[in-house]
């Protein structure tokens, strides 16, 4: 029963439109591969580590394979178009090296030449590749079971919303005690913010890192260290503490893979954020995104989408419907990639100008709309940032109202707002005060939902219906473009940012698949979904 009086036909239309807008993108993603998808495949097969200059072996190997195939004149579509799996395992089957790492070393020394195998050679290479990549997926499956076991043993977070706290020192060895302390103070989810700029690196740094800017690099070793530390905390506290990182930027598929291999529990993963806010090529993003979401689906990881970002650049009232549109698209792409409702932490944020009359009622309307549209998704509720100022007292009040909306709309994941948002990286006391704020509101009004029924013709319900209507209109406009969503992104339909499909970062790492393209990871993952 809709509390907001949403018309069932309108809700159905929203999903139909999202599917219409999204389907050509999925097709496009299926027809292309990227350097990062290929490198993720090598990572699943167990290749890790880096050379003396810090360039990962997966980059070295993929680059040489691509260059070798590029130069064999009879191949069409460039060196990436057939995928790296066939040439790589062909070389292994031929006995060029005993394992992937040695092969990568030899390749970068120039002592191996790769070719595209044919006939029986191709079959052998294919079988060997599939066997080895399946090993990586088995590790991911084991980790998923291990998470379930640990949740059973230690217990889950005691209530919803889960309390989500951020650590970001730049040094993994500083992050660990901070994260453990945050867990003791009540965090159910720890997010380690990445170093500024990592999203634009076309490789994943290697090893434990101690130098980052406004965050810590996402690396396999950092993931492992932090997960191990939080396993200790989970044991100490008698509840499983979840770990979050970011599958975004140019290496989205690889980072998703590493998250699966190291049992991370949630990942930021948005379908359009990289395009709009990082100027990453749209096709690159959609291909990478689909692969990374297939991995997340397999790993039992909950994704968090990035709709809050729209509201930090556009007006939160005028652009409210763009959040809904993006949530619908994110939902479509996620489900297509095999994610289930419980894995969809669809984002939204409390960013309306507090000086605007009725701002709280508007926030409530938008949050309730998201709740009603996605009843089985653990929504991710993001605190005010844009209208936080140096007035920490006012900010504390604003965070209280943010928490109240969270309580009233049954949010699944609540990113705790800091009153010092605009001032400093959170101090110990800021975090403590912020958690007191959350606890007070949840204690005082956690069950207010039971009594709170907005009048069907009132301000809140009317506003929610209006936003859904505007979102459906926007989806219609997107579909009306000759090339649908891609053209809409190109002409600036989403905010002021115009992102044409033939521009943006990472474009040279995209290739259209040739008829003989083979990727064992994609094959195995498609079979799951």
């Amino acid at each position: 029963m809709s509390q907001l009086g949403l018309d069932k036909a309108e809700v159905r239309r929203a999903r139909t439109l999202a599917r219409k807008a999204g389907r050509p993108i999925v097709k496009l993603a299926q027809q292309h591969t990227t350097v990062s998808v290929e490198r993720a495949t090598l990572r699943l097969a167990g290749l890790s580590g880096a050379d003396a200059e810090g360039t990962p072996w997966v980059n070295r190997l993929a680059d040489v394979v691509r260059a070798d195939l590029e130069h064999s004149a009879e191949l069409e579509g460039g060196g990436l178009a057939h995928g790296v799996a066939l040439p790589v395992w062909d070389a292994l089957v031929r006995g060029e090296a005993e394992d992937l790492e040695t092969l990568a070393q030899k390749a970068s020394a120039g002592s191996v030449r790769f070719r595209l195998p044919e006939g029986r050679d191709a079959q052998r290479a294919r079988a060997a590749a599939k066997r080895q990549v399946a090993g990586g997926l088995r590790t991911i499956d084991r980790n998923r079971k291990e998470r379930d076991r640990l949740i059973k043993r230690h217990g889950d977070a005691p209530r919803q919303p889960w309390i989500y706290l951020i650590v970001a020192t730049g040094d993994i060895y500083e992050d660990i005690p901070q994260a453990q302390q945050a867990a003791r103070e009540g965090a159910d989810v720890i997010a380690v913010i990445r170093s500024t700029g990592q999203s634009l690196l076309d490789f994943v740094p290697e090893g434990a890192t101690r130098e980052g800017f406004a965050g810590t690099y996402a690396t396999q070793e950092n993931f492992r260290l932090m997960r191990a530390a939080l396993d200790e905390s989970s044991k100490e506290l008698g509840r499983y503490v979840r770990l979050t990182n970011y599958a975004s930027g140019l290496c989205m598929p690889e980072i998703a893979t590493l998250a699966g291999l190291q049992r991370l529990d949630m990942m930021l993963n948005d379908s359009m954020y990289g395009i709009l806010f990082r100027d990453i090529n749209p096709i690159r993003t959609f291909v990478d995104q689909r692969f990374s979401r297939q991995i997340h689906a397999r790993a039992g990881i909950i994704i968090n989408t990035g709709e809050d970002n729209y509201l930090t650049t556009a007006d939160a009232v005028e652009a409210a419907h763009t959040v809904t549109t993006s949530q619908l698209l994110n939902e479509y792409f996620a489900k297509e990639a095999g994610l289930e409702d419980w894995q969809l932490g669809l984002g939204h944020a409390f960013e309306i100008d507090p000086d605007l009359p009725e701002s709280f009622r508007l926030e409530l309307a938008h949050a309730m709309l998201a709740r009603e549209l996605f009843p089985d998704a653990p929504l991710k509720w993001m605190p005010p940032t844009r209208h936080m100022t140096g007035d920490v007292f006012r900010g504390y009040l604003l965070d209280g109202f943010f928490n109240l909306v969270g309580a009233l709309t049954g949010q699944g994941i609540l990113l705790v707002g800091m009153m010092t948002e605009a001032v400093v990286t959170p101090w110990l006391s800021d975090r403590d005060l912020a958690l007191q704020n959350v606890r007070y509101v949840m204690n005082a009004a956690g069950n207010l939902r039971e009594d709170f029924h907005p009048s069907p013709d009132g301000f809140i319900a009317t506003r929610a219906r209006e936003v859904l209507g505007e979102s459906n209109d926007l989806l219609e406009r997107i579909i009306d473009h000759p090339n649908g969503l891609l053209d809409a992104i190109a002409d600036g339909t989403f905010g002021l940012m115009k992102r044409p499909a033939d521009a943006g970062r990472g474009l040279d790492g995209v290739a259209k698949k040739a008829p003989g393209y083979y990727n064992p990871a994609s094959e195995l993952l498609e079979a799951t979904t």
């Binding site: 302390q181 500024t196 999203s199 800017f213 990082r278 930090t312 650049t313 110990l428 005060l433």
Partner: protein, 249 residues
């Protein structure tokens, strides 16, 4: 000379509030000791009498305090040093007509966040048509051509684009301050422009961000530093003042 003191509820009472954390336990028998420590700090900071009105343990090793008290310091308003605005504040209309009159072409502004800084809030607040604090951004000014390069632009890229666009002014925003990145990046940027341009041709260099000190312009090698709360109108007025006055002279 004019002397003032903080105002609580009576002129001259000198009352202030303060909150801080000490790495001390305040559980059980430690609670008096921790409060005493807080009081000692307040006294040393010039609060006398000081009253610890709230102390709360945060975990086993830390305590948070709120202290109210009277400070014995006096503020001499004649000795306050600030960078006063030394240019007239113009409306967008006045900016447009000034540019039209003196330049007879559009004035070109190139903006970017340099280094690894991905926080475009500052540069967007000044440049985007949406603007900030009720003022429209520079894109709204008809006679200004705005090229917003966005985030994570390298210094060589910025210099190249400034050349290409024949920039009159270059705006750089820096939010991230870890390891003084904002200062290092700004110095690198100003040095690169000095190297790439003869002094008379160099575009006006303006840097902004919440953690800058306005008095550091010379030290950073830029023409102006803007800090928190700066509005697009102030930036536009400054640019017009400096560039067009230069032309007149």
């Amino acid at each position: 000379m004019s002397i003032v003191r903080p105002y609580g509820d009576t002129t001259g009472d000198g009352m202030v509030q303060l909150s801080f954390t000490l790495p001390l336990s305040s559980s059980g028998q430690h609670s008096k000791h921790a409060e005493g420590a807080a009081l000692q700090l307040a006294n040393k900071m010039g609060m006398d009498p000081a009253l610890v009105v709230h102390s709360k343990p945060m975990g086993p090793d830390f305590t948070f305090f709120v202290v109210y008290g009277r400070v014995n310091h006096l503020v001499d308003t004649d000795q306050v040093e600030v960078v006063e605005r030394d240019f007239p504040l113009l409306t967008p209309k006045e900016v447009n007509s000034a540019v039209k009159r003196s330049l007879r072409r559009r004035l070109v502004v190139v903006g970017a966040c340099i280094g690894t800084d991905a926080h475009t809030v500052g540069i967007d607040a000044i440049l985007n048509i949406k603007g900030f604090a009720g003022e429209k951004g520079l894109e709204y000014y008809r006679e200004l051509k705005v090229v917003n390069l966005g985030a994570q632009v390298s210094v060589p890229q910025l210099v190249a684009r400034a050349h290409e666009e024949k920039a009159d002014a270059v705006l750089v925003s820096q939010v991230v301050t870890q390891r003084d990145a904002h200062l290092l990046n700004t110095r690198e940027m100003s040095a690169a422009f000095r190297e790439a341009y003869p002094p008379a041709r160099r575009p006006l260099l303006v840097v902004g961000g919440p953690r800058f000190d306005e008095t550091m312009a010379v030290e950073l090698g830029v023409d102006r530093v803007f800090t928190r709360g700066t509005t697009p109108g102030e930036v536009a007025s400054f640019i017009v003042h400096r560039i067009l006055d230069g032309k007149a002279a």
